[in-house]
Symmetry: C2
């Protein structure tokens, strides 16, 4: 597959800020120290230094101390999501209700995984501030009235994918309270956490509710690189034990965790700040290009973090038609329908700005604008 | 957890032959070349150089050319096993028969995974030459007579875990023919493949049957290191597509695959021969120690490859009693009952010889002998 010149389709990260030299030096220094560990199976939790580092990361961001032995490394956050879903839906054959409540527009990988697992997805309405908790309350009450009990509430509260929305603190508090009222587990997927450009940083849900109801998932894919496939999860010990009983992969990747920890240890936030500054420049370039090319035609989100802009097309431009026209001009993007839990078509597309250079962002958005005008003129 | 001085419990590899310096150098040289690839999601197949290298490995061993695009990298062979099992058991809700035919003593990780997936395991008798194909024929005929159709036959034909048995060519041929007669998929787990000490190397099952019925799984855990979590699978294109539809992990580890490929490329067999020579010395040391310490008390396998010796205890020594007595002397091993598909207790233990130094093997087997004699004397 040839990469299109203007690839806005995938949530890749910025190669320009990848610390290749320092990472190579850290890796070369770390490998000889790893000889014994690499020759053993990793165990269910994974490389200790990375777990300690991620406990520090959570403490620095949330002010909460997590025991590193309550952190489980996973092959990206996706393995954490499927492990948790398997665990919480395990007794379905015993007559349970295999249903999950989540933002109606959500990450396509999660939607596909839940679909493959036979999970019924119940959508909650969203706006520029993320999941609408008034709608969540209604959905949960309605399900309860029907005698149904969802397995968990799944939320991307921070820099939501695909909408880019940041849920403010009052909604987070409301979400936690609704979950408590219905005694429902909350699975918070914070995989974009720390890809922060400006504004407030409301607390993670687990920082608002220290009880056993919260399961928290995070990742290094967006602050370091997706190719290292490093995610992690934390939960109360009893829940963690239930989740680990479903781990049948002989453990997470020691090499990737150890080398990445060797690089990040002592400079995690310095690295994150450097990477975020470059991503903010790219976001600004995309917002500026959208304004100048599409300002009178479309509307779009203004994300304060994450990797995506969510764009609403004019009603007379269909997404499939635009995909064809844009591809002819070397532009790819993601169809918003793929991110709807039931594949519902709509006037939305998702634009990823992390990977392409600033010049390509400018030129590509100009091409996208031309493609839209072509369609409208035809 | 403190490591016991004489750890014969786990199938770890030999740290003494781990090429730490050369691997560190290869990693440091490779990382800068990987900047773009690491910042993208890996795709469903994984790092191309490693897939090409594994296609070469298979060609060198089996004389069969596999298109590298028909090789899928996985997080260890365990992910390959669970992906394949998920795929082949997917239509169970539509009334299928979720049953798998396999060696009755088998890898504990596979047994646990199948168990968690609700798979019914039907055992086939084994001897020093692996799965007894006369019994396989009977089992398959019996199931057919009952109107049942197993989802697949799962076999560790080469250096079987836990028994260490090597299935000779005629049995492999028979297995392939029985599978054809019943039109049953065969899943061959060759994760110990290439940990070879002496004697013939019969062909893999896929080399005996080029048809679409064979699924083949292999690994780098035993020829390089388990901490890199690198496995792979290959199958006919249509089957591969079905399997990939179940991959929901956003792809395999680029970093681990790329660094390991950078080291192994051009010296795969040289590395394997060096590692095998040291493992053979360890196997020989364990066999010699068993002979001198337990020659008149126990019987055991004499594996021509792999990492394990399968030992039969005297009838008056129970495994749990021996575990307690041996642990007090710093010796750990695996209870054979864990490797039985239905957990059936028996007079067997599995001894792993890959990880401990030769001295520890000698001293540890002496302690094991003393523990056995203690129990018999009591």
């Amino acid at each position: 597959m040839t990469t299109p010149p203007y690839d806005f389709a995938t949530g890749n990260t910025n190669p320009e800020t990848f610390p290749a030299e320092d990472f190579a030096a850290a890796a070369a220094a770390a490998i000889p120290e790893l000889t014994v560990e690499l020759n053993r199976y990793p165990g269910k939790l994974g490389h200790a230094r990375m777990r300690r580092l991620m406990a520090e990361r959570e403490h620095d961001r949330e002010g909460v101390r997590i025991d590193p032995d309550h952190i489980v490394l996973t092959n990206g956050s996706m393995q954490a999501i499927t492990l948790v879903a398997e665990t919480l839906c395990a007794d379905i054959d015993a007559g349970g209700d295999k249903c999950v409540v989540m933002e109606a527009h959500n990450y396509v990988g999660t939607i596909r995984a839940f679909d493959a697992m036979g999970i019924e997805m119940v959508g909650v309405a969203q706006d520029a501030q993320g999941m609408r908790t008034d709608d969540l309350a209604e959905v949960m009450d309605r399900l309860a009235a029907e005698g149904r009990r969802p397995r968990f509430i799944y939320t991307l509260a921070t820099y939501q994918n695909p909408t880019g929305a940041m849920m403010p603190r009052d909604r987070r508090q409301a979400l936690v309270e609704i979950a408590a009222k219905h005694d429902c587990v909350v699975v918070e997927d914070n995989c974009y956490g720390d890809v922060h450009f400006e504004g407030e940083k409301p607390p993670a849900l687990y920082a608002l509710d220290p009880g056993p109801r919260q399961i928290y998932i995070c990742s290094l894919s967006k602050i370091f690189a997706p190719g290292v496939r490093l995610g992690y999860l934390t939960a109360a010990p009893e829940m963690l034990e239930r989740i680990l009983a479903f781990r049948n992969d002989a453990g997470p990747n020691t090499l990737a965790a150890a080398l990445t920890a060797a690089y990040l240890d002592g400079r995690l936030w310095q690295h994150v700040e450097m990477a975020n500054a470059a991503l903010k420049t790219k976001r600004d370039a995309m917002l500026a290009a959208l304004e100048s090319e599409l300002g009178n035609l479309c509307s779009w989100s203004r994300p304060v973090g994450g990797l995506f802009i969510w764009l609403r097309l004019p009603d007379d431009v269909s997404v499939p038609a635009l995909q064809t026209a844009a591809e002819a001009r070397g532009v790819t993007f993601a169809d918003g329908a793929n991110f709807h839990i039931h594949g519902q078509a709509g006037p939305y597309i998702r634009l990823a700005f992390g990977f392409p250079p600033v010049d390509a962002i400018r030129d590509g958005i100009a091409e996208l604008g031309a493609a839209i005008r072509d369609i409208r003129g035809a």
